[in-house]
């Protein structure tokens, strides 16, 4: 890339630092010029970073009021409080899934982009989420994750597939008005008592939205028995305005048309099937005597796909991780792509000429050559994921924040909202700090190694 700044973050340390700093001729000494150049930055860094690091460590050993020394008490709290533990647990999920997923996708995108002419377009598109705030990305995904398939784009896509596979029935959510006479069979219903020709079946249903009744429906009537036939009615056993009797076809109660009705013989074999008419009536003729069970099969009641509750307690963390992946894949792609661009074409071509398949080239040549860069990307992502905050706050609805919580957010909640406990807040901050210390050591080692 450019001659100025290395494209590779190299965990913050550029290789060129390895060159020994140029040695001016003067003896090393502090003079006014040196002080003048360093003091302003030193003041800011001292006041806003060095002092707070020390102060936070000290503060973490004092109670909420800050007036009594509690030793490791706050740390004990951090690791015993249910909410903080849940946050820690979520952070572990984040660390396990997120950096690996993003690095992997980054490699995949970068390698495949090498093979298409419009790579700049895709790379720009992938990278754009990195430019905007995590809060705005959170808003974007909160809109995508709306639960109703009518309003949430993601669920709308899933719904169009799901509803094509399981056709929703006419009467979703319907339940029998006389549960003691009817048993549930899967998602359908079956009358407890068997029927013989000449009998009349009554199946009253309630609890489904009136809007589900087709416009063709007419008021139900109690059908008269017919010799040699099993007849019956399915109707909405609820009189609008109230006052009807349960189990009885009252005037004004609507028949339920287009209901699939089956007769099942005692062996469980479907003997006959029909559809109810506009008044909810149905009839089975040509029966060979014997007894049958009346079944309203599940297909009448299949609910349409109601939408995955992405932002409910159980899925909220994976949903936020997915959004985070969307944000960060561009970073991994561009970084690894930059590394790929500097890679020797000859080596790849040589491998291809030697008869290696594309997969072998990828596995044996590309990945080993890219691995230092992949490690850097991975570490960068780990650091960032430990501090993840904005996305969680933006995507998780208030009531599921405890389920989506992460330590950086818990720090904020403990220290700056509610009771405002700076003691425990400091302990969480120190814990966070300890987690990034290995990276600090790594940076220093690399710098010194280069300098030496």
């Amino acid at each position: 890339m450019s001659t100025t700044v290395s494209a590779a973050p190299a965990a913050g340390v550029d290789e060129r630092l390895g060159r020994a700093a140029q040695a001016p001729r003067q003896e090393p000494k502090w003079n006014l010029t040196t002080v003048g150049f360093l003091l302003p930055a030193g003041l800011f860094v001292g006041l806003f970073i060095v002092y707070p690091v020390i102060a936070t460590v000290i503060r973490s050993f004092f109670n909420r009021a800050g007036d009594s020394f509690v030793g490791f008490g706050n740390y004990g709290q951090v690791f015993s409080d249910g909410r903080t533990l849940h946050a820690l647990q979520n952070n572990i999920i984040w660390v396990v899934i997120f950096p690996a997923a993003v690095t992997g996708l980054g490699v995949l995108f970068a390698v495949l982009l090498e093979r298409v002419p419009y790579r700049l377009l895709i790379r720009t598109l992938l990278f754009m989420p990195m430019a905007v705030s995590l809060l705005a990305s959170g808003v974007i995904w909160r809109i995508m994750y709306q639960q109703s398939p009518d309003t949430g784009a993601l669920n709308a896509v899933i719904a169009s597939v799901a509803n094509a596979i399981t056709h929703p029935g006419h009467y979703t959510g319907a339940a029998p008005s006389q549960p003691d006479l009817v048993q549930a069979v899967g998602d359908g219903y079956q009358l407890n008592q068997s029927l013989a020709p000449g009998d009349v079946a009554h199946v009253g249903l309630i609890r489904f939205p009136v809007a589900e009744i087709p416009a063709s429906a007419r008021p139900a009537q109690d059908p008269a028995p017919q010799p040699g036939k099993i007849v019956g009615v399915v109707w909405r056993d609820f009189k609008p305005g109230g006052g009807g009797q349960v189990g009885q076809v009252d005037p004004g109660e609507s028949g339920l048309p287009d209901m699939t009705v089956q007769l099942v013989d005692p062996k469980g074999v479907v003997a006959a099937q029909t559809q109810s008419d506009a008044t909810g009536d149905f009839a089975f003729g040509n029966l060979n005597g014997g007894s049958y069970f009346l079944v309203l099969p599940a297909q009448n009641f299949h609910p349409p796909f109601g939408g995955v509750q992405w932002l409910g307690s159980s899925l909220v963390t994976p949903a936020i991780i997915l959004a985070a992946i969307w944000v960060w894949v561009g970073f991994a792609t561009v970084t690894i792509g930059a590394g790929l661009a500097t890679m020797s074409r000859d080596l790849l071509e040589a491998a291809r000429v030697d008869g290696a398949t594309e997969w072998q080239v990828f596995r044996r040549v590309t990945v080993p050559l890219l691995s230092p860069l992949m490690i850097v990307v991975f570490i960068t992502l780990v650091i960032n994921v430990l501090k993840i905050f904005d996305l969680v706050l933006a995507i998780a609805p208030q009531s599921v924040i405890p389920d989506a919580n992460v330590i950086a957010l818990q720090l904020f909640l403990v220290a700056f909202t509610g009771l405002g406990d700076f003691g425990i807040g400091s302990a969480i901050a120190v814990f966070l700090f300890l987690l990034v210390i290995p990276v600090m050591g790594f940076n220093i080692r690399r710098f010194r190694g280069g300098e030496a």
């Binding site: 700044v5 003048g36 707070p52 102060a55 495949l112 901050a429 700090f433």
Partner: protein
């Protein structure tokens, strides 16, 4: 190995064959392109629809019913001083938070590169160590310091951001300065120029690409920040905080939220397209900072 010679021997396949071979890859990128573009389009369209519709129908229905779309949400956004004011606050925070570390860090980097003083390496190592300190480490003590002094919210926020940019910026600039030929500096010194003059008239102009990379990154970092604003901004919130305050009632305030969010994307995206090269460099180098 003579690979190049071999390559010539290898028969070149016609373009259409290569295109056809890559069909799965093209499909892959079409899907990816859609996955990355759609959510953002969803935000834009949502911001153009009335809030009543949000809980009734999806934003994509607007493509079949363009009469749903209007700029009404943006009008009402600017009618209320709350959000409009927060954009001003964001600018007032992001500009000094960018300028201050540029000044401080170029100076410090100059000293670390071309002035020789005892403890130089140790101090620089400290700086490298401080680069990854999470800013969460400083929130509580600084909040306590601020509670005593109590300057207005905007100052609190940009001072904090400025300070946390210094280690990384110094590192970045020193890195760049190391690439400037030493002879250039020596000849200036021979001519009797003092360090202050060399710094302002020789080094700073040369350092423009590095400064631009850093400035673009830092401006966006601050513009996009939520946490520091949330803790320190008080009643002069930057736009991210102002949006978050609306988010308690997401479903019924989505008109304000989506419109403000979309507007908040515009400055970063403009910078992104205008300074893409600097942007990517700055971002890649800065992504490890605390």
């Amino acid at each position: 190995m003579g690979t190049r010679a071999l390559e010539i021997v290898r028969p070149r396949r016609p373009t259409w064959v290569r295109l056809a071979e890559n069909v799965p890859i093209h499909v892959f990128f079409i899907v990816a392109g859609i996955l990355w573009a759609i959510p953002a389009i969803g935000l834009l369209v949502t911001s153009l629809r009335p809030v009543d519709l949000f809980n009734v129908s999806g934003w994509w229905t607007a493509f079949g019913a363009p009469h749903q779309l209007s700029l009404a949400n943006y009008h009402s956004l600017f009618a209320s001083s709350l959000i409009a004011g927060s954009f001003v606050n964001s600018v007032l925070i992001a500009v000094p938070a960018t300028v201050i570390p540029v000044v401080l860090a170029t100076m410090a980097a100059y000293a670390f590169t071309w002035l020789n003083f005892p403890g130089r390496t140790a101090l620089f190592l400290l700086l490298i160590a401080l680069m990854v300190v999470p800013l969460q480490m400083a929130l509580i003590p600084i909040a306590q310091v601020y509670a005593v002094f109590g300057p207005p919210g905007i100052v609190r926020v940009f001072l904090f951001h400025a300070a946390f940019a210094v280690p990384y910026a110094t590192f970045l600039f020193r890195n760049f300065f190391l690439g400037i030929p030493h002879e250039l500096l020596e000849s200036a010194r021979m001519d009797g120029a003092r360090d202050a003059r060399i710094f302002t008239s020789l080094i700073l102009p040369l350092a423009f690409p590095a400064i631009a990379s850093f400035a673009v990154f830092q401006f966006l970092w601050v513009w996009n920040d939520l946490l520091v604003g949330l803790v320190f901004a008080g009643n002069t919130p930057p736009v991210t905080v102002a949006i978050l305050q609306q988010m308690r009632n997401f479903g019924s305030s989505v008109d304000v939220i989506s419109a403000a969010s979309f507007l908040s994307l515009i400055p970063p995206l403009l910078l992104f397209f205008a300074f893409q090269r600097y942007f990517v460099q700055g971002l890649l180098a800065g992504s490890v900072k605390g």
